[in-house]
Symmetry: C2
Subunit: 325 residues, 2 copies
Amino acid sequence: MSLTSPDLSSADLEAAATFLRAHSEVLITSHVNTDGDGIAGGLAMVGLLRQFGVRGRVLLQDVPADGYAYLEGWDDIDAVTETTVGQRGNAIVLDCPNYTRIGNVLELLTADAVVLNVDHHHDNERFGAINLVSAGVCSTCEMIYHLALFMGLEIGPTIAEQLYTGILFDTGGFRYSLTTPTSLEVGADLVRRGARLDLIADRLYNNSTYAEVKLIGRAIDSMLLHHEGRVATMSLTHEQMQQGDSEAAVNYGLRIKGVEVTALFKEESAGHYRISMRSRADVDVSAVAGMFGGGGHSRAAGARQDGSLEEVRNRIVAALEQVLP
Amino acid sequence: MSLTSPDLSSADLEAAATFLRAHSEVLITSHVNTDGDGIAGGLAMVGLLRQFGVRGRVLLQDVPADGYAYLEGWDDIDAVTETTVGQRGNAIVLDCPNYTRIGNVLELLTADAVVLNVDHHHDNERFGAINLVSAGVCSTCEMIYHLALFMGLEIGPTIAEQLYTGILFDTGGFRYSLTTPTSLEVGADLVRRGARLDLIADRLYNNSTYAEVKLIGRAIDSMLLHHEGRVATMSLTHEQMQQGDSEAAVNYGLRIKGVEVTALFKEESAGHYRISMRSRADVDVSAVAGMFGGGGHSRAAGARQDGSLEEVRNRIVAALEQVLP
């Protein structure tokens, strides 16, 4: 099977290939607090570069979440520390809309470093010397898949597992609207090449701690509906939040038929709330976040507010009424 | 694109096509308490038959869950009632391993009724005059897709949405091990033909009532770990169970890294518990269900037990120790 992307030009693929073949060592990085697509993409890139003798090293500002420990090469990912010395003259920047979002990895790069920018964010600033950028591709891992085939590299079971992980992560398991037919076909090809789709899904989605699942329960217990069931809100106290990562909880409001926006109020410290909002396709929660000094995307945004839980909730719920269609 | 299944023979497809073309009216049914694959497959079949002038009618023992109300034709599905008179001489039986599982629809069929059996269960009893049966296909809707292409029928946006729904339902969103590369490619083709993958996933997975999501919270609140975190149990009281369908709650135990088996104890009436068990790939919970007079599949099984919650839980947890690898 030879699957090509309708969204990547041969000229860009050729420029990226030339860059990769021109080096003996390459630094590979991604945005601060990177995710499954950036981590898996970085590891896949290391494996692909190795096939023609280039040593790739993944360096990030932060240590990645250990939910990706099943990926081959995960132990070799390094976070930048005081001992990460030396200035590099080149880098592959993955899944990152602008150059400064790589965080303190910037300090390891010379001012004239040559950068290959591989990304699928629609607001990518094309900051690289070479830009392999398309918002029509579901994930950076899918871009790497197309690049690998273009270069005639081998995608064996290990790299297939890494690339499938990134595609699954960024498409929410082929559920988000950025998923294209090509994403599904690339997934099929990666399964044929040895990716175990059931095991990858299990590792990616069934990977919480007991405390994190308990937090979901606490958030659900606090759930209230507003505006005739079109808005669901939840809250977690400062004490509850000490139990683990509560990020997954916010999505449970959208499980309910008819709910268009959900908000989770997390008490970061007494009287200080961090608000996470999520919406279905038609409601822009970044507009509401903006009213309160926050920001984000149309379907996922956040802000901070001070006051009692009731005060903060009333403020946000009132503002949400303005953006409901 | 012309996608064929490696698991269906031309002879079987030809026999099915001949059957379909030989009638002016066909009864379409599925197993009692049918699911997304059976419902969507039945509706797709109606649309396909209409293309060559055959009138198909979906008749089931039970009224289907209204979570599928977004599917074109849903209003025309009928449950068998006293007024569903008349004996039919033919039927298409979808997604059903044996003939008796169609329930009281049997009473509408003559003793010599000609049956087209379309199914992907490994234990299908090949009870039809024509059997389009393969355990290598992920869903009955995928089988119908292959049959439609074989017959040169048109899969437009409406039928694409129906077939995609059944594939998504039976593969758990392309996550279960029965998902093949062909399943993903058929999914891609259906999206190209007009299925909106994001909307279908939203309708299929974000379709709970407020009370049902609250029940998940209650079940999580009750969660205990046993056997060094390899078993998670939850319980719902009789009073809590009055709030809605609690079936989804049992899966939350498996969200936790390290948990291999999860059991939910549902108090059907005072001192009477219905136990639902789920496992990851390597643990056979049907063996434990069997010890207590129940049954099911390797990864999803159930039983009933009487006693206090503590007694019932202790019994099951002790038995589960014997099947942990």
